[in-house]
């Protein structure tokens, strides 16, 4: 469904994404893993049609990503993007005006899960509440692809189950979910595939349950194997 082929993105002399070839299918939840600066965000922005690759291709249903794919891809960036004057309700209305696949009903149910009130002002939300609102509004779309960049960042331990519930409710056979995270434990159980990215390059893509069964390692173990020595070098 979503395919990246020899995808490369340079920013001057920096190679953020370096020849990544992979394919993702609906009915699965993929965890994109790697320390900050591995190229996960850049890859996602290209997949969301917000950035052009330097070389290589990114296709959605065999068509290059662009205006038409954007309508079917719900993307949540790491940056905050609400106007300070908005209430939680306004954020929903703003999304409803912008995206035809936005469901107010789903948004309200997500708010309930996240324990957010419609009358709350976005500027008075704590960083954790603002992070939850971003997820609630993104997951209220009825898209084919959902890409959440670091959905667990800044989220209190107690609220992480709410986020997981919100994400899992959309994990149906016809949808593709991609979560980037450097908090591996948070995505271990909800993702069925792991995509390990290291310095812009794809290291490997693994079926999580198969990895546990045949290699007797957890996703977090594999993460340490791949990135461990790298962090030691940098420290």
């Amino acid at each position: 469904m979503l395919k990246s082929k020899d995808l490369t993105k340079r920013f001057g002399s920096l190679v953020a994404v370096d020849g990544v070839t992979l394919e993702m299918e609906p009915g699965h939840v993929y965890a994109m893993l790697g320390p900050n600066g591995s190229g996960k965000t850049t890859w996602m922005k290209i997949a969301a049609g917000l950035m052009k690759p330097t070389s290589g291709t990114m296709t959605f249903m065999n068509e290059p990503v662009g205006v038409s794919s954007r309508a079917q891809v719900a993307y949540m960036s790491t940056e905050p993007y609400f106007y300070a004057w908005m209430t939680v309700k306004d954020v929903g209305q703003y999304y409803a005006d912008f995206f035809r696949d936005f469901s107010m009903e789903k948004f309200e149910s997500n708010l309930k899960t996240m324990e957010l009130e419609k009358t709350m002002k976005t500027k008075s939300l704590s960083s954790g509440m603002a992070a939850k609102l971003k997820i609630a509004v993104t997951m209220a779309r009825d898209a084919r692809v959902y890409m959440l960049d670091e959905p667990f960042n800044g989220i209190d331990l107690l609220a992480r189950d709410e986020i997981r519930a919100c994400i899992l409710r959309e994990a149906t056979d016809d949808k593709l979910l991609i979560l980037s995270s450097h908090l591996v434990e948070e995505v271990e159980a909800i993702a069925d595939w792991s995509v390990f990215i290291r310095k812009g390059k794809l290291v490997e893509m693994r079926d999580n349950e198969e990895m546990r069964q045949t290699d007797h390692v957890s996703v977090a173990d594999r993460y340490r194997e791949i990135y461990g020595h790298m962090e030691v070098q940098e420290a």
Partner: protein, 129 residues
């Protein structure tokens, strides 16, 4: 039940389907889920345990393969009403528990004879309380 309430502290090195299947089997054997009871749908199971829906589907596939559950098309998944099957499952699970207990004891330098003696002593202790 609140979503995510059952989220286990998974051992991330063991397949998650196996851990949840084990939990459900214990509930069946202990009688907290009864023969013939309807089990939650795959999607609800995924939400209850905060796990991937494909993992949840795998759990029922495995329980069906063992004859513990039956899926009726368009109806859902049910616990078997075959008491024999449940008795057999209880026996298997008990055997596994005994085996791992004896392994643990052997790791402490105690043989099954010592283990039996200690179980009897423990029984007496409990009886006195």
């Amino acid at each position: 039940m609140h979503e995510g309430d059952e989220a286990l502290n998974f051992d991330p090195m063991i397949p998650i389907w196996a851990q949840v299947a084990d939990t459900i089997q214990k509930q069946i054997v202990s009688g907290s889920i009864h023969p013939g009871d309807k089990l939650p749908g795959g999607r609800d199971l995924a939400l209850t345990y905060s796990i991937n829906p494909n993992t949840a589907a795998r759990i029922y596939q495995e329980l069906e393969r063992k004859g513990i559950c039956i899926t009726r098309r368009g109806m859902g998944t049910y616990v078997t009403e075959d008491g024999e099957k449940i008795a057999q499952l209880r026996r298997e699970m008990a055997e596994n528990a005994v085996r791992s207990f004896l392994e643990e004891m052997s790791g402490l330098g105690l043989d099954w004879h010592d283990a039996v003696k200690m179980i009897e002593e423990e029984e007496d202790n409990l009886a006195e309380k």
